[in-house]
Amino acid sequence: MADELVLLDVHVSMFGMRVRIALAEKGIKYEYREENLANKSTLLLETNPVHKKIPVLIHNGKPICESLIIVQYIDEVWKDKSPLLPSDPYQRAQARFWADFVDKKVFDAGRKIWRTKGEELEAAKKELIDALELLEGELGDKPYFNGDTFGFLDLAFITFYSWFHTYETCGNFSIEKHCPKLIKWAKRCMERESVSKSLADPITVYEFVLMLKKKYGH
């Protein structure tokens, strides 16, 4: 029986992009459905009643929610092709730790940058730069966070690259100035088809945020 996969997603979501990259890395075919978050589909509300958020991956009718959980699921089901998590338990723990760090620190700070101004904005900028510098430290001189090959943590973090232009423009600063190695790493990741085809264009992301700012008066 052929696998039936449906991905409920939003084009500019850095979380949805993670799932798209994972599916592309594994060469898996799926049906993509763009959600309108102002008017969520019945299917989204039924498959993710707890959070009512995208992404949701529906595999043969069974829903999986939360982007990093979905990516690990994909890695475990399609385990014979392009492994995403390293095989060593300690390396896996480090990848999971830093992916969790990205979710908590990078996302929160980034969000505050486009939603606030003045002192709050400056504080958020500092928070983001601090988090990015820590990540740059973790990357070190490796080509990828995963070592010689692209892996789970690279996938978890690269999607935020499509939002850097938005953070930089709203916050009036340059990420490359603070974290040049990260930008080099990001460009290296963008050479992978799975990444370049899955990430939203930074201008599209910025226009989306401008629309939200207008709508909600940020």
Partner: protein
């Protein structure tokens, strides 16, 4: 010779999660109690990012964040499974463990230690979150099925710490009427021998919480 250390705090549910995981696998470890008001140089060296307990150090290599540590324990040692084997069941277990940490624990804890409108708001948020867990446990003995798993370990705050705390502060949130399944689970959980051996003493926790109340300016 494998060397396992746990940096923890006796009253912390997050710390106890790690100890439970190790005990489940039958792993011997050295426990180091941290004074959270005066963190050791070693702790700050092992967890420079968050500077928090618990930290597991295995052969000199540190791992932080209790749920990350539990997955590591499951993968590094043989023994009873902490996570299920099936990928879909694993995804579900990870989902609910994350849900507990992000949506249940913060408002539940806040509801205990705040007053007035803030308390009401936290109570409402916690009530909604607990409803999802109530549906999920749905008559099963444990979230993990017949045996304790990741979600049960993650829910230790809900099963043990919270009932003690809410009684002391006079908050009626997780009542048997509103949450019959969850209340039954909490009973099974706290009374199963494995968990019982791995909980901090009730009277010591009560003493700490009563101390917090006395130190608060306004009464509840």
């Amino acid at each position: 010779m494998a060397e396992v250390k746990v940096f923890g705090a006796w009253g912390s549910p997050f710390s106890k999660r790690v100890e439970m995981g190790l005990k489940l696998k039958g792993v011997e470890y050295e426990y180091i109690e941290e004074d959270l008001k005066n963190k050791s140089t070693l702790l700050l060296k092992y967890n420079p990012v968050h500077k928090k307990i618990p930290v597991l150090v295995h052969n000199g290599k540190p791992i932080s964040e209790s749920l990350v540590i539990l997955e590591y324990i499951d993968e590094a040692w043989e023994g009873p499974n902490i996570l299920p084997k099936d990928p879909y069941e694993r995804a579900k277990a990870r989902f609910w463990a994350k849900f507990i940490d992000e949506k249940c624990v913060p408002p539940m804890w806040k509801a205990c230690w705040s007053i007035g409108e803030e308390r009401e708001k936290a109570k409402e948020e916690a009530s909604e979150a607990l409803k999802f867990l109530e549906n999920e446990i749905n008559g099963q003995k444990f979230f993990g099925g017949d045996t304790i798993g990741l979600v049960d370990i993650a829910a230790n705050f809900i099963g043990y710490w919270f009932p003690i705390t809410e009684e002391i502060v006079g908050l009626e949130l997780m009542t048997q009427d509103k949450y019959p399944n969850l209340s039954k689970w909490a009973y099974e959980y706290c009374n199963c021998s494995f968990v019982k051996e791995n909980l901090p003493p009730n009277d010591k926790l009560v003493e700490i919480f009563k101390g917090i109340i006395q130190a608060q300016p306004a009464s509840n």
